[in-house]
């Protein structure tokens, strides 16, 4: 089952930001490469019982 949803993100000082997703309401802290090629994340929503950590890599620069 593939889920499609949307989200928002913010960026703070020193390349530390956050994301939020509409379908689950989950929020994550993100730690970002200043070049934008990768970031790591950890869930901030322990109250909702979500515990997750990982990293993402950019595979394309186009936004469509």
């Amino acid at each position: 089952m593939t889920v499609t949803t949307a989200g928002t993100y913010l960026m703070g000082d020193y390349c530390i930001g956050g994301t939020r997703y509409q379908d689950t309401g989950d929020t994550y802290s993100v730690y970002v490469d200043p070049n934008g090629d990768s970031f790591t994340y950890a869930s901030m929503t322990s109250r909702s019982g979500n515990l997750a950590v990982g990293s993402e890599r950019r595979v394309g620069k186009q936004v469509k």
Partner: protein
């Protein structure tokens, strides 16, 4: 030096090279300046018998000091200080002020990345850090995250383990337009 001493010395040198083939290359390769800059990481493990996750950023000052910002199992984001000491063989020890947990870190002469493991009893945490900037004050904006990104991870929801993989498109303006996720099957 007589011939017998020369032979003894030569034999000892060969023996050392056979026993420690990388010793000569490892000598004096690393110091505190080897790991300097901003590094990011994601780690998993077990702490006090429970699943533990943490992602964060370490700023190594090249002089033995660390500024660590992280989000862990509690869901809170914390800033703490730490210290590290790099040995010539590129193996170092680190300790953070808030947790008191000790780590051993393994890197190479470039210091571009390193792996680490906790060595404090009660913790089984490991991870890998990658340098993303040589600056001690990296700068980002919304535009930094722009394009298509992919990921996969193992997580826990209400104590039940799940897996997830997906693709996300960051628009460089604050929106994640089309995340595609494949949660637990």
């Amino acid at each position: 030096m007589n011939r017998n001493n020369e032979r003894l010395l030569l034999g000892s040198a060969i023996l050392v090279l056979l026993m420690f083939p990388h010793a000569s290359r490892a000598d004096a390769r690393c110091n505190d300046r080897t790991i300097k800059g901003a590094y990011i990481y994601a780690s998993t493990g077990v702490r006090d018998g429970a699943p533990f996750v943490e992602a964060g950023q370490d700023i190594f000052d090249g002089k033995g000091g660390i500024t660590n910002t992280y989000t862990d199992t509690t869901g809170q984001t914390v800033v703490t200080k730490g210290s590290y000491q790099m040995n010539a063989n590129c193996v170092s020890q680190a300790k953070y002020d808030d947790s008191g947990v000790n780590y051993v870190m393994y890197t190479g002469p470039t210091g571009s990345e390193f792996s680490w493991i906790s060595v404090t009893p009660g913790t089984k945490i490991t991870g890998r850090e990658v340098r993303v900037s040589t600056s001690l004050t990296p700068k980002c904006s919304l535009k930094t995250l722009k394009g298509t990104y992919v990921y996969s991870h193992i997580g826990y929801r209400d104590g039940v383990q799940y897996i997830e993989s997906g693709q996300e498109v960051f628009d460089g303006k604050g929106s994640i337009r089309t995340p595609l996720r494949m949660p637990a099957v």
